[in-house]
């Protein structure tokens, strides 16, 4: 009797729920604590503050401002022409950079994968711009793009007098796009190379038996098998492209006129030059909404493709 009671007592005690044994898990909170606390402050509280601010006409100098409801959003959507210009410019930039980098990185990785000699050297060289601060790269490219710079000297060889790349409205954004492709392509080459290394050679052997040529191999084996890598690349690029700031700030400051003013530059100006932090917050949420919808569409398309 007593033995059994003891056993019964011991049984449930051993499987006592975790939360009743603080000695076991308190260390978990202590270890995770600092990181979690920082992330709560700089992510969770930040998000709440930002959303809250977007409903106020907050002025940092006056340390306050009146509640305006959806006023900031209304102003951006219906009164601020610059908002639509900046959104258009940002979409233009993304439309150039995302497919541009994806295609170039894929092709370069294909070539780099096939190459037997100097693979590592090529990869290192292509990767170099990714570890150079964009500020520095922008400063170099400002000179390359200058009226007498390298690009125009090259065109001069063919008797063409080149434009002022960063100062003429129709050509300024394409110039920024070309420079940005040059900067980022190497990073994505490395990602594609890792993806290519993961494709089992059997697939290609089977295709060769069936008499497929190189292009058919690429189109029907490589591209479909790298679909997840491509999804990662395009989503990452799109999120980054919609927040483009540094190269524009250094190379054109949004000009000429507002031809290269991006959303992030507009947010920076409203928030930190005109000190309209409420309005800038509303702009950042509108940008977030655009990014969110785009990424959702990208995921949707990839999933639909996978079902087919």
């Amino acid at each position: 009797m007593t033995m059994q009671a003891k056993i019964e007592k011991v049984g449930p005690q051993r499987s006592k729920p975790l939360w009743q044994q603080p000695r076991k898990w308190i260390a978990g909170y202590l270890f995770a604590g600092p990181a979690v606390l920082l992330l709560i402050v700089f992510s969770l509280i930040s998000i709440v503050v930002s959303l809250y601010l977007s409903f106020f006409d907050y002025d940092i100098i006056a340390r306050g401002g009146p509640f305006v409801g959806l006023g900031n959003y209304r102003e951006a959507l219906f009164q601020d022409e610059l908002f639509w210009t900046a959104l258009w410019n940002t979409a233009y930039y993304a439309a150039g950079v995302v497919p541009g980098i994806t295609i170039f990185a894929f092709l370069l990785a294909l070539a780099g994968h096939k190459v037997t000699y100097g693979k590592g050297i090529f990869r290192t060289i292509y990767f170099l711009p990714s570890i150079t601060p964009i500020v520095i790269i922008s400063l170099i490219w400002v000179w390359l793009y200058s009226p007498g710079g390298m690009f125009n000297q090259f065109l001069k060889l063919f008797g063409i007098s080149g434009p002022n790349w960063l100062m003429e409205a129709p050509i300024a954004m394409p110039s920024v796009i070309i420079m940005s492709i040059w900067v980022h392509v190497g990073y994505y080459v490395v990602i594609y190379l890792a993806g290519l290394a993961d494709i089992p050679p059997d697939f290609y052997d089977a295709a060769k038996v069936d008499g497929a040529n190189v292009w058919q191999e690429i189109l029907f084996i490589t591209v479909p098998l790298l679909r997840n890598v491509t999804l990662f690349v395009t989503v990452t690029l799109a999120i980054g492209a919609f927040q483009v700031f540094t190269q524009i700030y250094i190379m054109t400051l949004g000009g000429p006129g507002s031809a290269t003013t991006s959303m992030q530059l507009l947010i920076f100006r409203q928030g930190f030059q005109y000190f309209r932090m409420g309005y800038a917050s509303a702009l950042s949420w509108l940008l977030f909404a655009v990014i969110f919808v785009l990424v959702a569409i990208q995921l949707r398309i990839t999933r639909a493709e996978q079902i087919v």
């Binding site: 939360w19 898990w25 978990g28 909170y29 270890f31 995770a32 600092p34 990181a35 979690v36 992330l39 700089f42 992510s43 509280i45 930040s46 998000i47 503050v49 930002s50 601010l53 370069l108 070539a111 096939k114 190459v115 037997t116 050297i121 090529f122 290192t124 060289i125 292509y126 170099l128 570890i131 150079t132 520095i136 400063l139 170099i140 490219w141 390359l144 710079g149 390298m150 040059w182 490395v190 990602i191 594609y192 890792a194 993806g195 993961d198 890598v229 990662f232 690349v233 919609f242 927040q243 700030y249 959303m263 992030q264 947010i267 920076f268 928030g271 930190f272 917050s281 950042s284 977030f288």
Partner: protein, 296 residues
């Protein structure tokens, strides 16, 4: 260059005898490929060459011939000017301080959290971890203004602490290190626990030494990211004595746009530390990126 590639290619075709129809065809394809890759590699390297050439032309030499690729003059004048009068040395010092602080603190804090999420059972663990992953989805754009207001509210605007504090926690770092810790055999830790070692001792004496490659990878990425960061220091600092190199060089360029040789010299000084880190840690960088891509 292309001739060099030709001599390089021939052994490779010899090693793969007639696998494809038409060895000559294959040969031509390979040569074209090498040729294109070399041309593109030169296009990638060109701006760096340009940077070097112009940094050493000197103010007079540069003014006399600002666009030539083969310099007629060589002098350290622009470099010395940028370093000293241009205060680039101060900005480089600041960047080194900021990047070092963030690397050390962030790697430590992230690895502590990663250890907890990988190895310790505690109530709400999975929920917290999902929350941390969710913060990776937040665009920087939305966080910039509230982060500034929080730092400003804490009285840290325009201070060193204000620059580095938001960089201390990294969801990405926690995620990567947790993945690594999960792969360390549990037996090692169990044995230490039976011997009566505390969690903290296990973390310092077993986990950290084993996780060294992952820690180095995270540290290098953080260093490069901090060194290159622009918009945050631009926003949070107003005293130019505290500027990191990125913001400092933008200011320097504004003051010396008439003497672009000095801007090139300053740019060269700003790039060298990162090139050094890159060549020392290249193995870790490439490995780390490959991992990210595959996880996605």
């Amino acid at each position: 260059m292309s001739q060099q590639s030709l001599t390089h290619v021939s052994p490779s075709t010899a090693a793969q005898p007639a696998q494809r129809r038409g060895a000559a065809n294959f040969h031509l394809g390979t040569v074209t490929m090498y040729f294109l890759m070399i041309v593109l590699a030169l296009a990638m390297l060109f701006p760096y060459y340009y940077l070097m050439v112009n940094a050493f032309k000197g103010t007079r030499g540069f003014a006399a011939d600002p666009y030539s690729l083969i310099p007629k003059t060589f002098t350290l004048e622009s470099i010395l000017y940028a370093w000293d009068t241009g205060q680039i040395s101060i900005y480089l010092g600041n960047s080194t301080i900021y990047a070092t602080i963030v690397v050390v603190v962030q790697t430590f804090i992230s690895s502590l959290a990663a250890y907890a999420f990988a190895r310790i059972q505690f109530p709400g663990r999975n929920l917290l971890f999902m929350g941390i992953l969710a913060t990776m989805m937040l665009p920087y754009s939305v966080l910039l203004i509230p982060t500034y207001l929080i730092i400003w509210g804490l009285g840290l605007a325009n201070t060193i602490s204000g620059v580095v504090l938001p960089g201390f926690a990294s969801a990405y770092g926690i995620f990567m290190l947790r993945q690594f810790f999960l792969n360390i055999p549990m037996e090692l830790e169990d044995a230490a626990r039976i011997d009566g070692a505390s969690r903290l001792r296990i973390y310092f004496q077993i986990i950290l030494p084993l996780a060294q490659p992952a820690l180095v990878t995270i540290a290098i990425f953080t260093f490069i990211g901090e060194w290159s960061s622009f918009i945050w220091p631009l926003v949070v600092l107003s005293n130019n004595k505290l500027y990191p190199i990125t913001v400092g060089i933008a200011l320097f360029r504004g003051e010396h746009s008439m003497y672009y040789d000095r801007v090139f010299a300053a740019s060269l000084l700003a790039t060298l530390p990162l090139l050094f880190v890159f060549f020392v840690g290249q193995r870790y960088i490439i490995g780390g990126i490959s991992l990210t891509g595959l996880k996605g």
